[in-house]
Subunit: 416 residues, 2 copies
Amino acid sequence: MSKVLSPQRTIDELKGLRALTGNADGAQRVAFTPEWVAARDYLRKRFEGLPVEMHDDAAGNFWATLPGESAKELLIGGHIDSVPHGGWLDGCLNTLAGVEVLRRISAQYDGRPPVTVRVVDWADEEGARFGKSLFGSSACSGNLDMDEARGLVDKDGITLPEALREVGIDFERVKDCGKELQNAAAYLELHIEQGPVLLDKGLALGAVLGTFGVERHAITFHGQAAHSGSTPMDRRKDAFFAAARMSPEIYEIAKRSGMGVCTIGSCTTKPGIVTSVVADCRITLDQRHLDATKLATMHAEAKAASERFAKEAGCTVSWERLWHIAPAPFDPDLVNFCDDAIKETCGVSHRLPSGPLHDAAEVCMAGIPTVMMFTQSLHGISHNKIEDTKEEHLAMSVEALDRLAGKTMAWIEAKS
Amino acid sequence: MSKVLSPQRTIDELKGLRALTGNADGAQRVAFTPEWVAARDYLRKRFEGLPVEMHDDAAGNFWATLPGESAKELLIGGHIDSVPHGGWLDGCLNTLAGVEVLRRISAQYDGRPPVTVRVVDWADEEGARFGKSLFGSSACSGNLDMDEARGLVDKDGITLPEALREVGIDFERVKDCGKELQNAAAYLELHIEQGPVLLDKGLALGAVLGTFGVERHAITFHGQAAHSGSTPMDRRKDAFFAAARMSPEIYEIAKRSGMGVCTIGSCTTKPGIVTSVVADCRITLDQRHLDATKLATMHAEAKAASERFAKEAGCTVSWERLWHIAPAPFDPDLVNFCDDAIKETCGVSHRLPSGPLHDAAEVCMAGIPTVMMFTQSLHGISHNKIEDTKEEHLAMSVEALDRLAGKTMAWIEAKS
């Protein structure tokens, strides 16, 4: 077993996985499907010949453990599942790079590193079938809402508990997997960026500051239907006019917040006919920030603006919260290590937040020091068969993850 | 037969018609239904005892003619049909007030006025069943698009020609009714306002300057879907942002136009999900003005603004014309007579354009000198069972229409 890391081997293994479980429409590793089972088998085979213990936990997460001198654990995590017709790297880059890093560590320490090293492959990160992401990691962190999850139904009317039973998982016991985290000292996750930030900056890698908190609301403006021909402009209670003014406003709110983002993703109008002023206009607003206080400010500013615009249009406005999650800022020491590892690998690093959620957010919220590393996405796109990353960037990402693992092991050892 | 006009009789007859053809949900005089046939019979009975000739023309329009010394005709027109669950006065005020005015003229001149006086009840003004308004009057004016009308289908799959055949009308011959206009010298139409202008001003009656021309378009902005969390604000091609900026802009365009109105009546977004920037946003824009040049300017300004907003949002924009009709400015002499008649009746008049279309627009476009008179609508609303007008205003409207008829007869006589 070579003591030298081989990023090329990871690239070759990623391609092997793609050949095994993808097709012309992209990656098809949807959780709990035969393709996913094949991907899991492929992952297990990567550990052959290594002194690791492997098992699936109560929620279907896969763990490969290389025991060390200390029971304290370095976790390297990812997810091999994909959305239907997804990208070839989303999720599995993390798990296969983790295998290579574990191999290098095992070889360096003759199978007995100073701290325990584990690779985890989370079950159903994407939530493609039941519309609920982070299933395995939220079961492990304890954040999974059992009542909500129990009622989830796929498009064929099959419930999540029924689907889990078919793959040998007892839904009512999934949170038992929480014990897997009891010795966890740090969690690392490498992922493709899924956005255009590193692409725009021409950088290969970035250190992730944390995952955004999200405030997600439906906002409905209530005005009055009126004939488009007979109603003078100054007599209108135009709900679309009030709602439309929110769009430029959220750009200003996001700008003031520093690094937050705000999105109006949908707009519906009633009665919605060409000859009537809009009586009711519903928009959805998704706001994200890494800082909880700033997220709250963004939310408050949007609310105040909506009330002002409603009043000025002779309308009223009502808000309904659709979803909310707190920001998960990553561990400052680990973010520094990540930054250093990137600089040592390719000279320049960049710190950025993660807009999308990741399993890392669940681990972080469970109190485990966590950091993520992003590698550039071509086209700045994901969840699409055209998702891709340059091979040289993939190679650098494996190398930087390995350096980060080394720094983190030393940090765990020093703290013990 | 009294030589004194009785506006109260018109009010009583309107109530009689309501009792006969309305219910708790409003007026139900939808064209070509049994209720409409009953309303027509009720109208015919109003002429009993008067020396009038009555017939239905090739398009189902009803004509009652009081022959005069001159073959030149004064037409007083309206429509007894309503939308389903409509208002009690919309359309039938005109026809029943016309009956009373004809009665007064007949009595004054012992059945032989100096010019011929006709009351016309247009067929299917509302277009409630086939979605095509002004059927009878556009057949008469010659503007009816036969190819388009031939293909119209109601919600039960019945074509317009089939429905007409059931009431004894041969669709292919409807334009034969154009001959009814060959001696027409002037056309008067009294109507409820259907908007809030007179209500706001506290006025009973107004002289109508003409019906607005309409430019009706669908505008689609094309941007790019992008993840709401991972896409920085300055990297977005947000089609909703571009479309939303049109809303305040059309208020400015309408203001600059003087008396025009602009309405964005609907907005749809694609993919229209909370976690994505909007890729495609389609809005409908309805623009109306009495002046053709100003209408063209409003349209050009909206188009230029949409192109600017699209460019600034990194989007493109495409326009599709849904409908168009030229403005129909009424006859200046008749507008003056209308204004005078109103002032003599209630002291104050007001000149205003009509946003909604009326049969008067068709007659006007056929080259007949035309004017309309509006009476105040409570709530500024129509096409609704709550549509209403104060009885004192109804009485004044009949009186003012009578004065206008007198002035117009004298004008026709003087021109002959």
